[in-house]
């Protein structure tokens, strides 16, 4: 109102702390102490555990020792299997990233630095729990020991691609592994996972679902619809938010991180929220296990924010040096998830540098061999494709007349043109 003696309004537009060329200093990052966060009973009412949305569950300390009530006390075999799966997904990413650079496919996306958020989470789930991934959860398939060749066939859109070359690389689907078909449209899987969990509950089943999306995607309406349904029906679902700090060029502040945490999205909906160190495989495992027990015990959904860092570009189409400081990923205070789990198993005396180096060579060989096998079935541009008329299949269960006509037209036209 005129006459009021107030300064004019101003619009706040978030700005990340570091841009290209900036020296990166995380000295003021308030490093949560490993083992410091209490572990509530699985039936705790969401209102009784709001603090957990603002704290950070960490198990591994700087020396690689497991601390506190969230230590999942895993058997050595489980720890080493998780380590191997993480190393394998990293090797797999390296290999396919290079294949894309060599022109063998159109696109690729790595999950480097975020391996624990899908590998450790999957290890804490049952195989028949249903996973609704985003495009950065190849780790789920690796943790479920899905054949690498099958994954690569999809990336190369070759003759062996079960998805018939229809989807862009990395948009896997693997029903037998209880892994939902990946969508390119962000956050659509969120309400779907809730619906699956509601159905499971309605049928008196014992299986639960888990869903993943990036922190940037939490802005989509689908995310919020999902949380409303999950809360209302106490759906047995684990809602994972992978906060890797970046959404292409936009830092997490554009999804609301300047004001609150992503785990705290749970608070307003009346859902249990946990915030975990996403580069700490044990913390991820423990939080997922807690949420899974909670869901199976009919206590409802849990939202888990995994605090991590996207160590590389968004995808092969991206150049992160254009918008963020290169030092960010090297100075990231929560370290690398593989290095941290490795340090832990060495500290436990069940692993050593030599075995680790041998494992790295072994997983690299495995990927190389799988790639050779997959490439024998073709790569994107080498002509070994699905048959042309496969394009008209699966639009509907039964092909209607107009698609039959179009399929015929395509064959006639190609014949007439001599191709």
């Amino acid at each position: 109102m005129t006459g009021r003696n107030l300064p004019p309004l101003s619009l706040h537009v978030p700005e990340p702390r570091f841009r290209p060329g900036d020296a990166v200093d995380f000295a003021d990052f308030d490093m949560p102490v490993a083992g410091a966060v209490a572990r509530p009973e699985i039936g705790t009412a969401p209102a009784e555990m709001r603090d957990h949305s603002y704290a950070m569950v960490r198990v591994l300390d700087d020396q690689g020792n497991a601390q506190g009530p969230w230590d999942p006390r895993l058997a050595p075999e489980t720890l080493l299997k998780m380590l191997r799966h993480m190393a394998l997904v990293r090797a797999y990413d390296e290999r396919l990233y290079r294949a894309q650079r060599q022109g063998k496919t159109s696109f690729y996306m790595k999950c480097t630095g975020e391996e624990a958020t899908s590998i450790a989470a999957t290890h804490a789930l049952d195989y028949d729990d249903m996973c609704f991934p985003s495009y950065r959860q190849q780790g789920i398939l690796i943790a479920r020991e899905w054949p690498l060749v099958d994954m690569m066939n999809q990336v190369f859109s070759n003759k062996g691609d079960r998805l018939k070359g229809r989807q862009m690389p990395i948009m896997y689907s693997a029903r037998q592994a209880n892994f939902f078909s990946i969508s390119g449209n962000l956050a659509t899987q969120y309400p779907q996972a809730v619906g699956w969990a509601m159905a499971s509950a309605a049928r008196g089943d014992t299986r639960i679902s888990a869903v993943w999306c990036g922190e940037g995607s939490t802005a989509e309406g689908d995310f919020h619809s999902a949380l409303t349904f999950a809360a209302v029906y106490r759906a047995p679902v684990i809602l994972n938010v992978i906060n890797n700090q970046w959404a292409i060029s936009s830092f997490s502040g554009f999804a609301g991180a300047e004001a609150t945490t992503f785990a705290a999205r749970a608070v307003g909906y009346g859902i249990a929220g946990l915030r975990v160190d996403g580069n700490d495989a044990l913390a991820v495992y423990a939080a997922t296990q807690w949420a899974a027990d909670r869901a199976r015990g009919n206590h409802g959904p849990t939202l888990i924010e995994h605090f991590t860092y996207r160590a590389e570009g968004h995808s092969t189409s991206d150049d992160p040096t254009k918008y963020r400081s290169a030092e960010e990923s090297t100075n990231w205070p929560l370290g690398d998830p593989i290095a941290r789990l490795k340090q832990h198993v060495i500290a436990l005396g069940i692993w050593d540098e030599e075995r680790h180096a041998a494992m790295d060579r072994e997983v690299a060989e495995l990927c190389k061999a799988a790639q050779r096998e997959s490439e024998a079935l073709g790569t994107l541009h080498d002509g070994l494709k699905q048959p042309f008329d496969s394009m008209f299949e699966d639009v509907f269960e039964e092909m209607p007349w107009h698609l039959k006509e179009q399929s015929q037209q395509m064959r006639d036209e190609r014949k007439a043109a001599g191709i």
């Binding site: 989509e220 698609l403 179009q406 043109a417």
Partner: protein, 341 residues
């Protein structure tokens, strides 16, 4: 403002249009995913945040519904937002705000409120983007009363049309054919890409000019058959016609709504034959509207049934992109059919 021209590709022309408009009118704001510091994933807004500041060019949360809803609200305040939807394939979460709100605001408030927003969005295939980076959803929007739909086919038109769209007081969906951002694409995917610099339409005035909405362009005059096209397909049509040696009249529609019916009708009455080309799926596509209009207005002049050359009625496949794309083979065959009758 200078009349001097500079060689621009389509991205640069679009960038220049927004720049010119923002310089002339400080009510214009640009918002969208990654459009600020980064300048957009296709670089269409590069440099604009540095020039006009963060309150006029800003990144947004990833919610297309939010982007368009906020744009409508800003327009209600009196600003003129130019939101970007990163890919047309991601416009669907914004449908309610576009269809129920922006499109009808003028009507339902009897002109009290309007939504002068220009939604820019890259569309179309040819980049191996699979089903979520390749779609051509223009037909969904031409079907909505109250939205204008514009599709440029070259840098000169892109700039002039975008300026006219931004200055228009109604909501406009401005589809940018991403396959031709850097150079025209004639559908011969196996031939080297030609940059815009080699083509006359890349000579773009540095300053202000408009290409009026609702006016088609005759790309090539001819007597034998009329080809109606827009976006990337204009270039496919040119190449096919040149190779086939047919005296076709190629019309680049440029604006789908409001449509330049006069130019279409005059042409078809002259040629007596018509082929409609678009990359979007066939059923209920804009080609159906064009074909109906030609039939209504030129029935007694038609010597052959109107042919439609379109994307197949399937989602856009990744690896079989070139079998899906309505390229030279398919247009060539359609021309043979229409000339036979």
């Amino acid at each position: 403002m200078s009349d001097e021209t500079r060689t621009m590709n389509m991205i640069q022309a679009i960038n220049s249009a927004i720049d010119i408009c923002m310089g002339r009118d400080d009510e214009i704001v640009v918002l969208g995913e990654d459009v600020g510091f980064f300048g957009g994933v296709f670089k269409a807004t590069e440099g604009l945040q540095a020039k006009y500041g963060k309150t006029r060019v800003f990144d947004t949360p990833i919610t297309e519904c939010g982007i368009i809803g906020v744009a409508v609200g800003m327009a209600t305040y009196g600003l003129r937002p130019v939101p970007e939807i990163q890919f047309a394939d991601y416009i669907y979460p914004a449908l309610d705000q576009l269809v129920s709100e922006a499109a009808r605001l003028r009507y339902r408030s009897a002109g009290e409120y309007t939504a002068p927003i220009t939604v820019r969005t890259p569309f179309g295939g040819g980049i191996f983007g699979g089903q979520t980076h390749s779609q051509s959803p223009e037909g969904i929007f031409t079907h909505v009363a109250g939205l204008k739909t514009v599709i440029p086919s070259n840098p000169y038109d892109a700039k002039g049309l975008l300026i006219a769209a931004i200055e228009d007081n109604d909501p406009v969906i401005f589809f940018e054919p991403k396959r031709i951002y850097n150079g025209p694409f004639d559908g011969h995917y196996d031939r080297p890409v030609q940059p815009w610099a080699k083509f006359a339409e890349s000579a773009v005035p540095e300053g202000y000019y408009r290409v009026e909405l609702g006016k088609a362009r005759i790309v090539r005059p001819g007597d034998d058959v009329t080809i109606l096209a827009y976006g990337t397909m204009v270039h496919v049509a040119q190449s096919v016609v040149a190779d086939a040696g047919i005296d076709a009249e190629i019309i680049d529609l440029r604006t789908l709504v409001p449509l330049d019916l006069e130019t279409i009708v005059a042409s078809v009455k002259k040629t007596g034959r018509c082929v409609v080309v678009h990359e979007a799926t066939k059923t209920s596509g804009f080609g159906a509207e064009l074909s109906a209009l030609v039939q209504e207005h030129c029935f007694h002049h038609l010597e052959a049934p109107v042919q439609r050359v379109t994307g197949w009625d399937t989602p856009y496949p990744h690896s079989l992109e070139w079998a899906y794309f309505p390229g030279p083979v398919r247009l060539g065959e359609a021309l043979k059919r229409v000339m036979q009758d």
